[in-house]
Symmetry: D2
Subunit: 351 residues, 4 copies
């Protein structure tokens, strides 16, 4: 942390800031500048709360210099993490496709869609048994019955299944049935749930909060890793902005940032970002081209009869088209080695 | 809901939309326009999911015409709700001030601050026992020990206490000690927690989510009312925007909107919105002037030694000043009757 | 426009709204609903200002049903517009690459970079002669000298040139030298400049405003078309959001939306969206994959000595890599016909 | 500027950054930290472009430490600027009210409204002669005829008048008629217009851009001061956010920030922020309570017949109410001296 003092700060005020820092057991290093003094805070084991010094007399602002995360950081673990979901890898050079309906509605519905997406090339099956709904009057999911249907789908198709958990109370149950446990957007900073996920033996799919910075998102993952579970996949699903032509704004720049800052894999969910069918395929292509490790896509064979989010679900034929296009795109720029791919290789003059 | 068809929609496509609507048991009414047809959906008991029709061939868009909430709506209950927190009212013409430290750190700290804020005129004491922290390495609160300290503060000062609950697992405990249970920003759409709050016998303070629309916020309150607990106070605490000079952007227009749409009281939290001390008093004045029913303010006698959020905590002397100013402002525009106050009275020509 | 009345609206209030609408010469059509009345406004030649009725007694809200734009609309002109920039086409199935430095600094600099980007496959050369700078103390461009350098580059390389115009006063001059005139983000709603562009004989590159909805952006283009100039290319360059890891957030969903709503071509500018070099190539790939008609990319042979925006400029070697990757991606999903490409073809069941 | 190096940066990379800084004529000071090196840039006369170093090998990020503005800064001129608009002061302890219709429609309309607002206590009359409109098909203002009507209003009522200028071409004309020239939201970064305003002999009302940070806004004012015109008033009018219950989100925290950072006065425009009548009075009260130096409010005697923005215009009776309320509020907290008012006085322990 760098503490920038006012131009008019007195030596007493500067000393007072130094004292506060040292009283916490950190090192304070004064840095005289052209027309003002700054004070560096060093040797702090964890992140420093800016409120330690902001508001003290003579302090203009506190600027964080280092990242607050540790275990998720690529500086700590330089090698990519490969997550194993019931035998299906996410991470590295794989392009892993997760597909299925928004909500599990019946065995027949789930199985029909599962066979469609599997035939088209999906690797994992998704479907909600517990649904977070804005309205208490909307369909809330089949609960345990939905989990049992998921298990049947896995049994019959061999595809591992991904489903969302909404609270600690049902975590054991979800964990018992699912191959990968999803923590949804609205729960990204449900810290009790994150701690529980840290003790899970299942890989976790952690969606980005609707207003979360990448740093906050990585800190949420840090809770899980800190608890002992290193199998975490991040999922970019759009953030809330003023833009009104899509439900959320898919922030694809988060992909190169997460890849740079962290060793965890990151996939994209174009369905929830768009909120409407006609943007899903273009955004899926873009997500693969930006080099996400995979996609999560909603598919329904009868979207107009879906119990939730039908408007953003692809028809099976559309999903087939998506699969062909993203596979081709992935192949198209994947023939160059990774470092070259992002143009950050050593070979570049100065770059 | 109004379904707007494309100009080029065929009669078959229009009929197909009408069929989908009627298959759900709703009434479809076709409205021929100048150059396109719209279809109104009527007689729907609850909210209609736009995905019922968006994405169907020939559909341009679906526009929601009515509000999805019921129990929180002023259309359902025109009279203001008055919430009773251990004998202290929130709502109506009262200006209720909740003050205290971000986190309970010790009995001595809590009692010192409580006596300060009580002397200055605060009605309720706040303090966190369970703290939602972005980093797993930050101070997470004293837990039950903090709740016991809160109970001691109430015993000695007579002030009812408000504290946050973070999960269902600790809800019983928090409920046993607190006079009012707070659901924090990050949990505004933790629907399992909202359902639990619906069965609580304590009033609930529901903070607005960082990226929540007023409609989503009211729908979160609807979960609580639907569960049977009508004692809910909303708390505006700023939303996330591109603005970087304050931690969040206090959206004061939410106050007249909530007052118009709902019968529930609404208070403002300038401390979390600002994130820095020097904006708290101005924003507190503005919150009272916009006609919030109260304030929630962080106060600490030694902010530079606070274990969390010290930078936004007022010194006791500053809180005294705040109290004097907001009391004067509240008095200043409160001598006119309520309808006149907002300029929406019947007396106005045409308005 | 649909006027939704309050549930409690009286027959007199409804009649009063009908009168206001008819006094303007429009048709009012009353639509009785389940528990409230709505009133449709028909036969309005141009857009209706919501303020005609919002605020009238008994009115809950006014919902716009049709789009306010005409000439830019695909409903008016279903066929894609092809823009011709000095012989280079933008639009249709072409992928057009515009590349060059942020600012023209010298003939030597411009020519060096031009030869680099041309060799790598760029079609148009860009470079600023007049630079909009946040600070009055920053380098403001070479002005007419910069324009002359651009003309020399065209002469020697044969590449048509694109450069920004900042005001009406210099429009004639810019127009005289440039093959395509750019209107920048900060001037997207400089309506006097847009009107002047409407009388230009040069094609216009219209960048999206930092906080502009697609509708506002298309309305800005409408000003140009309304003035008589139909050669307009839209450029998505990111919008301002709370996200802080990139300078702006590239909103790639605007591409399918613009393609659906308008016949005008749309290109993307990953350099300004990112603001930092290491995100430019990934975002360029994503832009092509989402099916933008082209890219605008900043390239500098000595970015660390650039007079503006060096941090986001690619090295020539990186630009070569970008060209190879985007060409491959464009080829990869371009072998399917356009309708199939976006999954909106007639062949789909129901979709 | 502080340049933070990667943990893995080599001594050669660090030296290379130092070289780049010194080649620009600045001083580079290396600051060894716990696990990484930072480099301070000193003795730079103007702002340093981060692109000087961002993107260089080994550089993690560049953090700006000082503010880029000079002439508008309170560090340069500690005393409040008082702006004189035809004899009416804005700034200091005054509460200055600017009121009138959105657009001048006729002499009769202007005069009627002017007499209303004057009687209610307004100090300045506003009204648009040139209107920036999203649609080219909307009413664009009366032009010079509108300016003449403004002059007549001033003549008859004695109230100085404020009106918007949209381009350099009409600046002379507007300047000839108006007592204060307004630069609108969409032109906040129209740098040619700002430069022209810098040579004006009229005070300038500079509205905040819809997506502008306070820093960018102050830099826009810096253009005007740098040109020689020190009479600038800033106007907060809301920023664009995801919030959809008001047209924009009034960012009242900008008021204490501007007051702290700059000596220029700041007023608020609740009409454009709200976009709907029923929020204007509450937001006006809040703006005065947050300690803005004044208000700009739209008033129309027949809002349902207004040619633009009628929905946000107050009826004359509502404006009277507003005047009474804001006057009372201003008086209520103005009896304490300024320093005490914001709780930042020397008397506070540590604060």
């Amino acid at each position: 942390m760098l503490v920038v003092m006012e131009k008019t700060a007195t030596p007493e005020q500067i000393q007072s800031v130094v004292d506060v820092i040292q009283n916490r057991g950190y090192t304070a290093r004064s840095i005289p500048g052209g027309d003002r003094v700054s004070i560096g805070i060093l040797n702090n084991p964890g992140p420093v709360d800016p409120s330690l010094v902001v508001g003290l007399p003579g302090v203009k602002e506190a600027i964080r210099v280092t990242r607050p995360y540790k275990l998720v950081s690529r500086e700590v673990k330089p090698v990519d993490t490969l997550v194993d979901v019931g035998g299906v890898p996410i991470g590295g050079a794989h392009l892993t496709i997760i597909a299925g309906p928004c909500a599990i509605e019946s065995l027949d519905q789930a199985m029909t869609i599962a066979r469609h997406v599997q035939r088209a090339g999906a690797h994992l099956f998704r479907g909600g048994a517990y649904k977070p709904r804005t309205s208490p009057y909307s369909f809330q999911g089949l609960g345990e019955e939905g989990l049992k249907i998921l298990a049947r789908v896995r049994e019959e198709t061999g595809m591992p299944v991904v489903t969302e958990v909404m609270d600690e109370a049902t975590f054991d149950l979800v964990e018992a049935y699912a191959d990968m446990v999803q923590i949804g957007t609205r729960n990204m900073q449900n810290f009790s749930l994150l701690r529980r996920a840290g003790h899970s033996h299942r890989p976790i799919l952690l969606k980005r909060g609707m207003a979360a910075t990448v740093e906050e998102w990585l800190m949420a993952a840090e809770y899980i890793l800190e608890g002992g579970n290193g199998q975490v996949v991040l999922c970019e699903r759009g953030v809330r902005t003023f833009v009104n032509h899509s439900r959320n704004t898919l922030d694809l720049s988060s992909v190169p940032v997460v890849r740079k800052e962290s060793h965890l894999p990151i996939v994209a969910d174009p369905s929830h970002a768009a909120g409407r069918r006609d943007q899903v395929i273009p955004l899926a292509r873009a997500s693969v081209a930006v080099d996400a490790h995979g996609l999560m896509v909603e598919v329904h064979h009868q979207p107009d009869q879906a119990l939730s989010d039908g408007a953003q679900s692809l028809y099976p034929e559309q999903f087939e088209l998506l699969m062909r296009q993203v596979t081709d795109i992935h192949a198209a720029f994947r023939h160059s080695p990774a470092l070259v791919r992002n143009g950050s290789g050593k070979g570049f003059k100065g770059g």
